[in-house]
């Protein structure tokens, strides 16, 4: 299909925000548009923004669900600051999203919902369509609800199901606006509703109706096209952070030869990792939905003792519940990966909003001296590599690893260049050999300081582990004072030595830039965007973005020591900066913190960094 009634303008990049009631299917609409974007060859990143209630009161601002996509013909690192196009399915979604919209943006509305009742529910005192408050925007008011009904009139579909498909009418309009093919979406309907031909037909009809409506009534004088991004040669797919995390573990399992065991309990926004792994029994994945967070991690420790690549997945509150068990994995020196998909806290906090506020908990949230490796993924697709690397470090160094991701990485998706498993680094766990007469449970490798892994069922290696302090070497229970000091230092040194097995910290920009931007985890995309933008403007900034938190890369002090100013940017109240102040007290740190459950915006960071440069 090509647009006939409008001229086509080429754009470098676009941000679209889909918004509607939480039952309106906006997440699906957004992800279908993402698939189409991938197919069009653009680079992109997405960000879902939805309430924690499944169906908050219909038509109210608290029930609005949004999905933002940023795509372009250049590399895209963030889901975008402000939207060029907003799709608002009702007054509440318009009201909730106006602050995310650029001046001059196109706003596509379902005009049928802008009636007195809808406006009242949304808390509008006057109709925004007539009171002039939208005069700075290009408002496209379409009778989406009524036209959806018309589109399926000929089919035997009840009213409820009909209204459920009005998101596809809106999608049809957007597909027209960006000159996209409908074929891909139609194929999705065929797959998804295989068993129900009438639903397939209905959705196809509504999607086409939206597209044709935009064309026929010349809704837009211009439509847009974003040329493919110059991605490197390879096979690509669209992936979100949770799926990437799950797949990273599966790849590590295959490469290490250790079967994958997940013990987990549903918790937002980590649940999808559990769901994803339950699919892959064909790849011998054992995903166990436990009775609680504690049983999730503890069953994983049992599986780890038994020779599995054992993992548990959770979010902040669940990590709190798991802390005693992490201590058990520390003292038994067993491999275990704990994924914390961070969300707004404390307590239940803001379950569907993103935050980086579990860093201190990951580093220190246990009784006793209980060091673990801490990694933080930098993007949705990096979750794959972080899960893989967390597994490698845990298995090879025989120590628990906490992998921090966050809500925005977990649900956000981006283009992922598919690797070959054989090209991933090897993973060689220190397995004890059957009938090794020299085997001792706590005999250590002199380099890594890890003990060996003796797996039940192996002849000649029967041994006990447990939560009581053990004598170095023999592994017998020991309350000897000097042994406890020795073991404490050994466990610490074992984690610190990992610094010799991870890469040096990278710096993007001049190693002597006036201002060093420091960040960690899920904020990489926006930090990189700002850094590159300011560097292009000739500003003396460089970026050091950390994926390795514990231990820190061995050249960290060298990097920090070469700048006039350092600013540490985090979506929390300053946890990484406190950690750096503690670890490298010789440097002075500025900080920029945002604790709103939302990602950074390019503009706010730019303003802060310019102010620091001009001081």
């Amino acid at each position: 299909m090509t647009s006939k009634n409008s001229k086509v303008i080429e754009l470098e990049q676009v941000v679209i925000r889909f918004a509607g009631d939480s039952g309106d299917g906006m997440q699906l609409t957004g992800s279908l548009f993402s698939d189409s974007t991938a197919f069009a060859g653009n680079d992109f990143a997405t960000f879902p923004d939805y309430p924690s209630e499944i169906r908050a009161p219909q038509g109210t601002v608290s029930g609005v669900s949004g999905f933002q996509i940023h795509f372009g013909q250049k590399t895209v690192h963030t889901s975008g600051d402000l939207a060029d196009v907003l799709i608002a399915m009702n007054p509440a979604s318009l009201k909730a999203n106006m602050r995310w919209v650029k001046e001059g943006a196109i706003i596509i509305l379902d005009g049928d919902t802008f009636i007195e009742k809808g406006l009242e529910k949304a808390g509008y005192k006057a109709d925004p369509l007539t009171d002039g408050s939208l005069s700075a925007y290009r408002v496209i008011k379409s009778p989406i609800s009524n036209l959806t009904k018309e589109a399926v009139k000929h089919l035997d579909i009840d009213m409820k199901s009909t209204m459920k498909s009005k998101n596809m009418f809106a999608l049809g309009i957007v597909m027209y606006l960006f000159n996209r093919e409908l074929e891909l979406v139609n194929k999705y309907f065929e797959r998804k509703f295989k068993a129900n031909a009438i639903v397939v037909e209905g959705n196809k009809a509504v999607l086409a109706a939206g597209y044709n409506y935009a064309d026929t009534i010349e809704l837009f004088s211009t439509t847009y096209k974003v040329e493919p991004a110059p991605l490197g040669k390879g096979t690509y797919r669209n992936i979100n952070g949770n799926v990437a995390t799950a797949w990273g573990f599966m790849a590590a399992s295959e490469r290490s030869g250790r079967p994958l065991f997940l013990g987990s309990y549903p918790i937002t926004p980590a649940t999808e990792i559990l769901q994803e792994l339950t699919y892959y029994k064909n790849l011998n994945v054992k995903a166990f939905q436990a009775e609680d967070e504690i049983a999730g991690i503890v069953s994983a420790i049992g599986a780890s003792y038994t020779g599995a690549l054992a993992i548990t997945t959770t979010s902040g509150p669940g990590l709190s519940l798991k802390s005693e068990a992490i201590g058990l994995a520390v003292i038994t020196e067993l491999p275990l990966v704990i994924v914390d998909v961070q969300r707004g806290g404390p307590s239940t906090g803001m379950p569907t909003k993103t935050e980086q506020s579990d860093l201190m908990q990951a580093l220190f949230g246990r009784n006793g001296e209980a060091p673990v490796i801490v990694l933080a993924a930098k993007s949705s697709s990096d979750c794959f590599y972080c899960a893989y690397e967390a597994s490698k470090l845990s298995l090879e160094h025989m120590t628990p690893v906490i992998l921090l991701t966050d809500g925005s990485l977990a649900n956000g998706s981006e283009v992922f260049r598919i690797p070959k498993v054989a090209d991933l680094p090897s993973i060689v766990p220190p397995l004890a050999q059957a009938n090794d007469t020299d085997y001792q449970p706590y005999k250590r490798d002199p380099e890594r300081l890890n003990r060996q892994w003796a797996i039940p069922g192996t002849e000649g290696l029967r041994h006990r582990v447990g939560g009581l302090e053990k004598e170095d070497g023999s592994g017998n229970v020991s309350q000897d004072p000097m042994n406890h000091q020795k073991m404490t230092l050994l466990r610490e040194a074992k984690v610190e030595r990992v610094a010799q097995y991870i890469p040096e910290q990278e710096i993007i920009g001049s190693p002597d830039a006036d201002l060093l931007l420091v960040s960690w985890g899920g904020t990489y995309g926006v930090m990189l965007t700002v850094a590159e933008k300011m560097q292009k403007q000739g500003k003396s900034v460089a970026l050091a973005h950390f994926r390795y938190i514990m231990p820190l890369p061995r050249n960290t002090a060298d990097i920090l020591g070469r700048h006039k100013k350092i600013v540490v940017c985090e979506l929390n109240n300053g946890q990484f900066v406190k950690y750096l102040r503690m670890t490298y007290p010789q440097f002075k740190y500025e900080q920029y913190n945002k604790i709103q459950g939302l990602p950074f915006m390019v503009a706010e960071l730019e303003a802060k960094f310019n102010a620091l440069l001009n001081q």
Binding site: G41, K286, A295, Y305, T306, A325, P456, R462, L468
Partner: protein, 343 residues
């Protein structure tokens, strides 16, 4: 080599194969010693290679058990042995997993894992040492301490209603429950053998004596003077008869148990209820588990043993079926499945 030996059953194991070199540090006179000996006698008799046993425990006096067995073992954290055992069994269903726990470990802090492990029917053997007291922390009441008992945390007597572990097991849809005494090694060994044979979560409650903090808590059941009238050994297909003269029996009156004397009021052995541990119906099993002196004798032996699919078997079947049908055989296949595009 190892596998061949297993298949042909050439390996003859003895108690010594399972004795550890660690000093056993339970109090002299503690019931745990007798249980350890019984387990050491049972393991070599099961025809399982010694490398295939894993003994798992939580925290408490009983939970030191894995250190005293020469097997693979994990002494974990308070209340979590059931979850550890679950992970061990699911990671390798071929292993023979024995969980050692106490009334504090499993009835209180580990209650959630206890009931869910039983509900799932994971194929492990769970030995519950019930001494009705917290021993390792020196004498606080537990969830099985009789109401009114004076302990360190109930100086005026407890006002908590205690759990009956058997009723809890059956209520959690347990497939196997047996009860035994630390003072009767022969019966204990027999019950452990039955537990090992049962596929599913086999719970054995061992009425065990803490000589220090709750000495003689099971006195009515175990003392020479009263035991014959207070112990009823249940056996599949046999009438529920007990007493010094073997002339008392359990009869069902309406929906209640009553004790009848054979030879009195026209009662013959035929009137006595016959034990059927294999029936799925939990009603009579619950009544048997509930019986307590002085009103009734305590039921000992296998009270319930119902064949139900185990979680681990169901999981393995599901994996086998998926592996047989899926076209995705490895990660490279998966990564390239669904919607991908070439650049």
């Amino acid at each position: 080599m190892e596998n061949q030996m297993i298949e042909t059953g050439v390996v003859k194991l003895t108690k010594e194969d399972f004795s550890s070199d660690q000093m056993v540090k339970w109090c002299p006179g503690c019931g745990d010693h007798a249980i350890l000996h019984a387990v050491e006698n049972v393991f070599p008799a099961l025809g399982i290679p010694k490398e295939d046993f894993v003994v798992v425990s939580g925290i408490g006096c009983s939970s030191r058990f894995p250190y005293y067995m020469n097997t693979y073992g994990i002494h974990s954290i308070h209340g979590r042995a059931a979850a550890i055992s679950t992970g061990v069994k699911l990671a390798n269903p071929k292993l023979s997993v024995w969980m050692i726990t106490g009334d504090g470990d499993s009835m209180a802090i580990g209650g959630n894992h206890f009931i869910h492990t039983i509900r799932r029917n994971i194929d492990i053997n769970l030995l519950l040492f019930n001494n009705k007291i917290y021993g390792l922390t020196k004498g606080q009441y537990s969830p099985t301490t009789p109401k009114g008992s004076k302990t360190k945390t109930s100086p005026q007597g407890t006002y908590e209603r205690p759990f009956n572990p058997g009723v809890l097991v059956i209520g959690a849809q347990g497939t196997f429950f047996a009860r035994t005494l630390d003072t009767n090694p022969k019966a204990m060994t027999a019950v452990f053998m039955e537990a090992a044979k049962h596929k599913g979560t086999s719970v054995v409650e061992i009425l065990q004596n803490c000589v220090i903090f709750a000495n003689k808590t099971h006195e009515l059941i175990t003392s020479r003077e009263t035991r014959d009238d207070n112990q009823l050994f249940v056996e599949a297909g046999k009438p529920l008869i007990f007493g010094k003269e073997k002339n008392k029996g359990i009869v069902l009156k309406g929906s209640h148990f009553e004790i009848a004397t054979i030879g009195e009021n026209g009662i013959t052995e035929k009137d006595i209820l016959v034990h059927d541990p294999y029936t799925e119906d939990a009603a009579v099993h619950t009544m048997l588990a509930t019986m307590m002196p002085p009103e009734f004798p305590v039921a000992l032996g296998v009270i319930r043993s119902v064949p139900v699919e185990t979680f681990d078997q169901a999981m393995m079947d599901s994996i086998a079926s998926e592996q047989a049908h899926s076209t995705i055989k490895n990660m490279d296949d998966l990564l390239r499945s669904g919607q991908t595009w070439e650049v």
